[in-house]
């Protein structure tokens, strides 16, 4: 029979692994809109983590800010500028 403590720590470890994968995909993704979506997934997992770490007030502040407002503002910025990260590769060499 699994105990409540172990279940809590199990969910914490699961949230940590999911946030690690989401951060990796968000940083290495070339399409910026998909990177923002992965970043929102990572923020959702962090909100669950705040709740599990006994900080429900932080979770209440964090959900609208980091899951709602950050992706909305960054999506607005991407819509106004350019969508792809534009991997220049060798073009950025020593052509000064």
């Amino acid at each position: 029979m699994i105990e409540l403590d172990t279940l809590t720590y199990l969910f914490m470890a699961l949230a940590g692994v999911v946030s690690l994968i989401a951060t990796y995909l968000a940083v290495l993704e070339n399409d910026l809109i998909r990177a923002v979506i992965f970043s929102a997934l990572q923020s959702t997992v962090y909100a669950i983590l705040f709740y599990l770490l006994m900080a429900p007030d932080i979770a209440l502040v964090y959900i609208p800010v980091a899951v709602g407002l950050y992706p909305a503002v960054v999506l607005f910025l991407i819509k106004k500028t350019e969508r792809s990260e534009g991997d220049l590769g060798g073009a950025g060499g020593g052509s000064e």
């Binding site: 770490l53 932080i58 950050y70 503002v73 990260e85």
Partner: protein, 135 residues
């Protein structure tokens, strides 16, 4: 059961430290300014989660699961306060993190509109192209 709890909590801490590393790579090495903003938000959020995890009372092998730092009785007696001080997590990192989230929101909005202005002036958000234009 205590070793299993320690193992699972260490998985959480190690993945947070790896998140710090990955987001620092994103801030320093990726060329796009928008990607730098995304990595910066991930970095500040990870720092906040680490601060909350430091204040968490139930580091592995607790006797009972900790409670949020909220007193639920209106007129607590000495026994209530003693039990509360033994059980509740540390409220100081939570207050600091609340401030940090709000300040991070303001800083991110400032950086977003700075990036928008850079795009309007130079026509790109790639720092390599911007550096070549300035040079």
């Amino acid at each position: 059961m205590s070793e299993l709890n320690t193992f699972l909590f260490n998985i959480l801490l190690f993945s947070l430290f790896f998140n710090v590393g990955i987001s620092l790579y994103g801030i320093f090495a990726r060329p796009s300014l928008i990607k730098k903003i995304i990595a910066l938000t991930i970095f500040s959020d990870t720092a906040n989660v680490l601060a909350i995890a430091v204040g968490y009372r139930g580091w592995p092998s607790p006797s009972q699961p900790p409670i949020p730092p909220v007193i639920t009785t209106t007129e607590p007696s000495i026994d209530d306060l003693t039990w509360f001080a033994r059980q509740a997590v540390d409220p100081l990192p939570q207050a600091l993190v609340l401030t940090a989230i709000v300040i991070g929101l303001a800083v991110t909005l400032f950086l977003v509109f700075l990036t928008l202005q850079v795009y309007r002036l130079y026509g790109t958000t790639d720092v390599r192209r911007v550096a070549r234009l300035r040079g």
